[in-house]
Amino acid sequence: MQKQVRPSPKRTAFIASLFLTLSLLLLAPLPLVHAQSAAPDSKAIKWSGEGLKLELQAMPLDLVRAFFLGRGFAAKDADFIAQTGCIFRSAIGNNGVTNSDQPIAIELANWRTIRASQRQAVRTRQDWAKIWETRTLSDSAKVAFHWALFPTTQNYQSSDYNWGMISFALPPGTRFDLEVHWLQGGVKKIKMLKNLECGK
């Protein structure tokens, strides 16, 4: 019943050398092309309270490009995500401390970025899916993109969490505040996170 997952040494060596070559080909041009957009020393924003635990960190543009190139995206599409997505990596879930018997619910579509009094919704998986309809993406890229993004809706019991990217659809380097919404035991909660900055 149990299968042994043991590739032959010959196959492993071939795969390693193939992947090394591809990785070098993919990565080599990046520092030259994008040398002016050095990664900022972005610190992770961490917050925990009222059932929610959250970590957010802006991803530098080169890292966003590298991640999606590695997932089968064409260079133009990886660059499109980097330039328009304002991608943050995130880990969000139930903090297991405050009323930990009560599940929390997150609806990403309710979150708002605020800059110069302008409120804007998060770009969710569903929003991105509409964008991809107008561009040609491989099936593998579509699958990777869907699962790389943070879920739009999710319920979390204590110790549950999700990992994923959140897209704020703002230009690189934009500073903004973020209104975070969630429910704990059906009760609405809001937390304002100040002075976030998109990667550049």
């Binding site: 992947f19 090394l20 635990k53 880990a91």
Partner: protein, 202 residues
């Protein structure tokens, strides 16, 4: 529901785990590159072992698990229904998902225990790229069955929204328990709960 003390909370550092383990082995250059990206990508903080947390929760509605037929890395097809009557741990993961990578070593340790008790573990990789999966699994000496859901047809039909998510299917084929996010799968309390499901049916 079970409680344990070894759960990796939200602010775990899966990237750091992966790198530490990777450095103990002779790894190809590309793996270091990938580990570096993952480390920057996600840097959770260390777990709080003192905090007792519930690790597995009843699956809402205890639905019947949808059957699937998927190929393993050699192309041999496996069905969930082949294991009816057994407890089956179904884990959805991807090589590029940091918490998924972080939980694989503990999953292998759990598998070493569970397989002696007629419990099956099926790890379903969401998305393709067999070569990357092969090399990743080799690094961690994984020998539990890994199936490919290249087009995400199965993962989109199961009640899950993100990776990793793990379901415990009882011998009747119902999804009894689930875990959203990574876990330390060899946590004794967690193993005990899985084995209790198997014993319940005897």
């Amino acid at each position: 529901m079970i409680k344990g003390t070894q759960m990796k909370p939200l602010t775990q550092e899966p990237g750091a785990d992966t790198i530490a383990m990777s450095r103990r082995k002779t790894m190809p250059v590309w793996s270091s590159w990938f580990a570096m990206i993952m480390a920057i990508f996600l840097s959770f903080s260390a777990p709080t072992a003192a905090q007792a947390q519930v690790l597995l929760h009843p699956s809402p509605g205890t639905p019947m698990a949808r059957d699937f037929e998927l190929p393993d890395l050699d192309g041999n097809k496996m069905k969930l229904s082949d294991f009816k009557g057994n407890v089956v741990v179904v884990n959805f993961w991807a090589t590029w998902c940091p918490p998924c990578r972080a939980e694989i070593p503990s999953m292998q340790r759990a598998w070493d225990i569970l397989k002696k008790h007629n419990v099956t573990l099926l790890a379903i990789h969401v998305g393709g790229n067999e070569d990357k999966i092969w090399s990743f699994l080799t690094d961690f000496n994984v020998d539990f069955p890994v199936l490919l859901d290249a087009r995400s047809k199965v993962s989109r039909r199961w009640p899950m929204m993100g990776l990793p998510t793990t379901f415990i299917v009882d011998p009747q084929g119902k999804i009894a328990l689930r875990a959203i996010g990574g876990r330390e799968w060899d946590d004794p309390a967690l193993i005990k709960t899985i084995l209790a499901l198997a014993k319940k049916d005897q």
